[in-house]
């Protein structure tokens, strides 16, 4: 009996020794047939069990089971090792250089004026303001006269206009609007207060172009008309909006300013978003950045559109979208907006 046990133990030792030599799936399978197969060495050795006596068998059987389990377990481990290795090699063949560039896929972009317009519209929409549009070729009457700028008024110098050839009709002469204020007039003629609108749109002025002036540019104006609307509301609204656009620390200040369609009128400044008001290159060391003009809608303008200025009051403001975009994105030349240079535009993708 001890011979059989010894034979089993020798077999285990030999078989485990040769298992290490099986380095791929095929040689491992050969080992399995040789050792664990129906005619394999284990089966052959176990034939010796039949020669043992009944009392010897349990002990020998125990050893045989242990050896079989050991060989099968080692086989499984070896198989897994080899399969892992195979898979590793297969995946290795699929190695990528992850640092290669991404697949070329052109990214689209929105024009910076579109982007800033949407931001401004979004900020005002929270406060109940609707965006309204109007024509770019306008009547003189809407662009000037009803805004308290009668013909031959010196304020027309501030907004030199492009006129349309042969263009005259019910509203006087036709011109390219110099501001989006005519949209305010059209809105007030068509709707009763309360009114809260903003009017973004293209505008045109006959002036020389340089890094901060374009003859075609984009404005956004806001208008609010209701009972008891005050300049303090204007300041509160502009503060809320500039904080959305330029950060929560922004403060708004008013300086007295002259625009014929508002009274009182104001120039609007914001604390510099770059230096927080301490003074830097962007704000020309003043700590303040000029945003645009504003004020309480002139009583004559309200009267012109049939709104009683003794009952209603309103505020209005206007500013250049390009100027906002320049501040927001750090653009230093307004002419880039209409140059349509892809190298510029793609930076807004």
């Amino acid at each position: 009996m001890s011979d059989l046990i010894r034979a089993l133990e020798t077999l285990e030792e030999t078989a485990l020794g040769s298992l290490d030599g099986a380095s791929d799936v095929d040689s491992l399978e050969r080992w399995r047939l040789l050792v664990l197969g129906r005619r394999g060495s284990l089966a052959e050795t176990l034939k010796g069990l039949g020669t043992l006596t009944a009392d010897q068998r349990p002990k020998a059987g125990q050893v045989a089971n242990r050896v079989k389990a050991s060989l099968e377990a080692s086989f499984a481990v070896r198989l897994e090792t080899i399969q892992k290795e195979v898979r590793r090699l297969e995946l290795g063949a699929e190695r990528l250089d992850v640092t290669l560039p991404a697949s070329p896929r052109p990214r689209g972009s929105l024009h910076p004026v579109t982007k800033i317009r949407r931001e401004i519209e979004g900020a005002f929409a929270r406060l109940g303001f609707t965006s309204v549009e109007g024509p770019e070729v306008e009547w003189d009457q809407y662009n000037f006269t009803m805004l308290n700028i009668p013909p031959d008024h010196p304020a027309r110098d501030i907004q030199d206009s492009f006129y349309i050839d042969g263009g005259s009709g019910t509203g006087g002469e036709m011109l390219l609007r110099t501001q989006t204020s005519p949209v305010q007039i059209r809105t007030m003629l068509a709707h009763k207060p309360p009114i809260r609108i903003i009017a973004p749109g293209r505008t045109y002025r006959n002036e020389a172009t340089d890094a901060s002036h374009e003859a075609m540019f984009t404005q956004v104006e806001g208008l609010c008309v209701d009972r008891n609307v005050t300049m303090a509301d204007l300041r509160g609204t502009l503060t809320a909006v500039t904080r959305v656009l330029f950060g929560p620390d922004r403060e708004i200040r008013f300086r007295c300013g002259y625009f014929p369609f508002v009274e009182p009128g104001a120039e609007v400044d914001m604390t510099c978003h770059v230096c927080n008001g301490r003074g830097c290159r962007v704000c020309k060391r003043t700590g303040w950045i000029e945003l645009g003009g504003a004020g309480m809608v002139h009583p004559k303008v309200l009267a012109n559109v049939g709104i009683d200025p003794s009952v209603y009051s309103g505020w209005a403001f206007g500013c250049g979208l390009e100027r906002f975009a320049m501040l927001r994105y750090g653009i230093d030349d307004i002419r880039l907006f209409y140059d349509n240079d892809l190298r510029f535009l793609r930076q807004f993708s």
Partner: protein, 842 residues
């Protein structure tokens, strides 16, 4: 307006620094454009008296100056100047003085070094205005006023600060007195008015006639005329020249300088006529006559031709009635003061703002100092005080005598109503509740006469309209005065209350942005071209000549109409508003291709301008897409051609987003495009009726195609370009944002593939349409998965393979249902469009 602080101090004490004054004025609505310090570079320059002059022993053209500059200090200076005499007070620069050297061009700044000139050492220089940087006069040494203290630093004697003010809304700011009033109000000082006290030296004699006639009182509300005799023309005193210089006005002679000085002082333009050239001393303010010619005193001395809308000051009609001056704008040559003039007729008149402005703009290249003031408004009340002030100065500085009283014709005299301002108006407009004392104090500081009634929040102010503030007309104007003087920074910041308005958002803005998002999201860059262009540029994309469909396409997105023309363009590229967005897109594609050989994918959501008779032009929203020939492939370095169908996919994405269906593409011949790679995009398209039913004009919404090679190269592009252009307004009218969802199917589908042979001449959509119509309603989907042309199909045909998905909404289809339907589909395809089923070996 350039304001010399030194001059300003004549009328008000300036108690704050120039920088602080600038800040105060700016916050109060008078913007300071610049502050120019005068004399900061005069570190080593002193005022000196010339005690002796002698010839240089070794040079005829040089003089030796014995200059005394106080406290027993003297210095000998060598100079080439000849305009100096013993007793003159001049600036002397010692070693270290920085000066401008005009002997070289352009002038350079130098520092004075000790030198020896022809054997005589020189350690100082007597200086010209040019060398001091004070003015452009380098003809001689600057002679200082005789009252100048000797031996003080020049900056003390002559230093000044000039503030440049931007006075958009404040006509009164175009005068020193106006600025002084403002400064007084802001700093709590009082204004000192200049000396205008004068009595005639004697009455007029019968041979000294004087008269004024106002023929056009609506245009000339007031005319003051003063006669001055015994005038001695000569230079004006240095203090006056200095002040004029600081204001940017050239000194000419005492008479002209006095009129300019008073104009700046009071803001009231004056004009001096040579009395001896004015028959009967009579001036007439009248409308010009058509074709009348006036020789003006403008710098160019040009003669201007007048018309009856203009106003002149003219002579007596019995003496020809010649025009003497363009009223309120510029004088004329006929009555010009000369060196020999001894009698002066002084005009201080008031002219209608709009008329002065229109006339000046029509006749002169730029406004004059006078017209700038009149067009903004000059108070009628200033005419007499300004005239008397000028007379006083003529007496003091030009040896004149005033003869007789001034004539004062004032037909336009009208009193202005007092303005009522309840203090509650401040609260209503500003959101600030002021104490009545605060408001009263502001009005007092401004010099406004007022009375108060009631108490506390019920206080009502009644304010006399100040004559010098023509801009103050109503309560709102007074509210602004209170706010700006008390401080705009006191306006609080509040969040609005009240009902939200119910103003609907215009759908167009929403849709424009939806289209932008689709295009940017699919790799296109948004461009914004100028909306103006030139006729020549527009002409680079031709219009249809004869085809009906192409005409309809043109009418929609590329109308062949005379464009809206700008009458005063700044350049040829701005002469018209664009009637089409195609050319500007080609320009942008060309520019894009300069920097990239692929992925030039652009879009423009903008307007074109279509003229309408007697009305504003139609501003039609157009979306335009432009593609260069190539796009990036999937792999690095790979490049694919952009195809018509790539662009079509983009158009489909847009139309899909807008909820459009039932549209189609009809092959189009158009001279701007490739004859076989272009389509009109139409709504309500029925392929089965194509060619038989005319397309309705309102159904055409755009064009898509490859640009004609010659047109592309005419626009500077040497490769294939694809363009699509859609009338967005037209599409938006049909757009739906919410498309109801179709429930998901509950039963199995039967899926089959079928291939057909179709003659090339038959558009594929006709086969598709036949299959769909025959298969309805069980044919749920039809997807083309292969298009084959080649040797395995007959010449002149192609194979189109489809996957057909059959499904019933209420049960699972059986073979018995599908088989006959399939047979019917195949048969109908053959009958309707001549398509044959492609067999396994075909």
């Amino acid at each position: 307006m350039r304001v010399s602080l030194k001059w300003l101090q004549d009328y008000v004490d300036v108690t704050v620094s120039a920088v602080e004054l600038g800040r105060l004025l700016t916050m109060a609505g008078i913007e300071v454009d610049a502050i120019h310090p005068v004399g900061v570079a005069w570190d080593h320059v002193w005022t000196a008296r010339i005690d002796g002059l002698s010839r240089h022993p070794n040079a005829d053209r040089l003089q030796l100056v014995d200059a005394y500059y106080g406290a027993n200090r003297r210095i000998q200076v060598v100079t080439g100047a000849t305009n100096i005499a013993v007793g003159d007070i001049v600036p002397v620069g010692l070693v270290g003085t920085r000066y401008r050297d005009s002997h070289v061009s352009p002038p350079v700044e130098r520092t004075l070094q000790p030198t020896v000139m022809r054997g005589i050492p020189s350690e100082a220089m007597v200086m010209s205005g040019f060398e001091l940087g004070l003015n452009d006069d380098h003809s001689g040494i600057l002679i200082l006023p005789t009252e100048t203290r000797v031996g003080v630093p020049l900056s003390e004697a002559l230093g000044d600060t000039v503030i440049e003010l931007d006075l958009k809304g404040r006509p009164d700011g175009l005068s020193m007195i106006g600025v002084a009033r403002e400064v007084a109000a802001l700093t709590g000082q009082t204004v000192r008015f200049p000396d205008g006290d004068i009595q005639p030296s004697r009455a007029r004699r019968s041979d000294e006639p004087l008269g004024v006639t106002i023929d056009a009182p609506a245009l000339c509300p007031r005319f003051v005329s003063v006669l001055l005799k015994d005038v001695k023309i000569g230079p004006s005193p240095a203090w006056m020249q200095e002040r004029l210089q600081a204001a940017g006005i050239r000194a000419i002679n005492n008479v002209v300088d006095i009129t300019n000085f008073v104009m700046i002082e009071w803001g009231q333009p004056l004009h001096a006529f040579d009395y001896d050239r004015v028959p009967r001393g009579h001036l007439v303010a009248r409308a010009a006559r058509a074709g009348e010619i006036l020789q003006t005193l403008a710098a160019e001395r040009e003669a201007v031709t007048l018309n009856p809308d203009m106003v002149v000051v003219a002579g007596h009609p019995d003496h020809g009635g010649h025009p003497y001056s363009l009223a309120g704008i510029i004088g004329g040559a006929l009555t010009e003061i000369s060196e020999q003039s001894t009698s002066i007729l002084l005009e201080a008149a008031n002219w209608k703002q709009s008329n002065v402005r229109r006339t000046a703009r029509a006749l002169l290249p730029r406004p004059t100092d006078a017209s700038r003031r009149f067009e903004r408004g000059v108070p009628q009340d200033h005419a007499l005080p300004a005239a008397l002030r000028a007379a006083r100065l003529m007496v003091d500085l030009a040896g004149a005598i005033m003869v007789g009283d001034a004539i004062d014709a004032w037909p336009g005299h009208a009193s202005r109503d007092p303005i009522r301002m309840p203090i509650s108006e401040c609260t209503r407009l500003l959101g600030i509740t002021y104490q009545p004392e605060t408001v009263a104090s502001v009005f007092t500081r401004l010099g406004f006469a007022f009375s108060m009634h009631g108490d506390g929040p019920d206080t009502v102010f009644t304010v006399e309209a100040p004559v010098w503030r023509l801009d103050i007309e109503q309560a709102a104007d007074l509210v602004e005065e209170v706010a700006r003087i008390d401080g705009y920074e006191k306006v609080p910041s509040t969040i609005m209350e009240g009902a939200l308005p119910q103003l609907p958002q215009a759908p167009s803005i929403f849709w424009e942005d939806a289209v932008r998002d689709i295009l940017a999201g699919s790799g296109h860059a948004e461009i914004v071209p100028y909306t103006w262009t030139s006729v020549a540029r527009l002409g680079r994309v031709p219009h249809a000549a004869s085809s009906d469909l192409a005409d309809l396409v043109d009418a929609r997105v590329h109308p062949n109409v005379g464009p809206v023309r700008i009458s005063n363009p700044a350049s040829g590229d701005q002469e018209v508003m664009r009637t089409s967005s195609l050319q500007s897109m080609l320009d942008a594609v060309r520019a894009g291709l300069r920097h990239a050989d692929r992925d030039v994918h652009l879009f423009d959501v903008g307007r074109i301008f279509v003229p309408r008779a007697g009305d504003l032009p139609e501003e039609r929203r157009i979306v335009t897409i432009g593609l260069g020939a190539h796009r990036s492939g999937d792999a690095i370095g790979e490049r694919h051609e952009n195809s018509f169908h790539d662009l079509k996919a983009t158009v489909e994405a847009i139309l899909g987003r807008l909820g459009i269906n039932g549209h189609g593409y009809i092959a189009l011949a158009h001279p701007a495009f490739h004859p076989y790679r272009t389509a009109a995009i139409v709504l309500d398209h029925r392929p089965e009726a194509a060619g038989r039913k005319p397309v309705r004009p309102e159904d055409v919404i755009g064009v898509i195609g490859e640009v004609d090679r010659a047109v592309a190269s005419g626009n500077g592009i040497g490769e294939r370009v694809l363009l699509a252009s859609l009338d967005l307004d037209r599409v938006i009218a049909k757009a739906r944002d919410v498309v109801p969802v179709t429930p998901l199917p509950r039963f199995q589908a039967v899926i089959e593939d079928l291939a057909f042979i179709l003659p090339d001449a038959i558009p594929a959509e006709r086969l598709t349409s036949s299959l769909l119509r025959t298969g309805a309603p069980l044919l749920e989907r039809l997807d083309m998965f292969d298009v084959y042309t080649g040797e395995r199909v007959p010449v002149g045909t192609r194979s189109l393979a489809y996957t057909l998905t059959f499904r019933a909404p209420d049960h699972t289809l059986t073979g018995e249902e599908v088989t006959p339907l399939r047979a019917k589909i195949i048969a109908q395809a053959e009958r309707q469009v001549g398509a044959r089923l492609r067999g396994p070996d075909a």
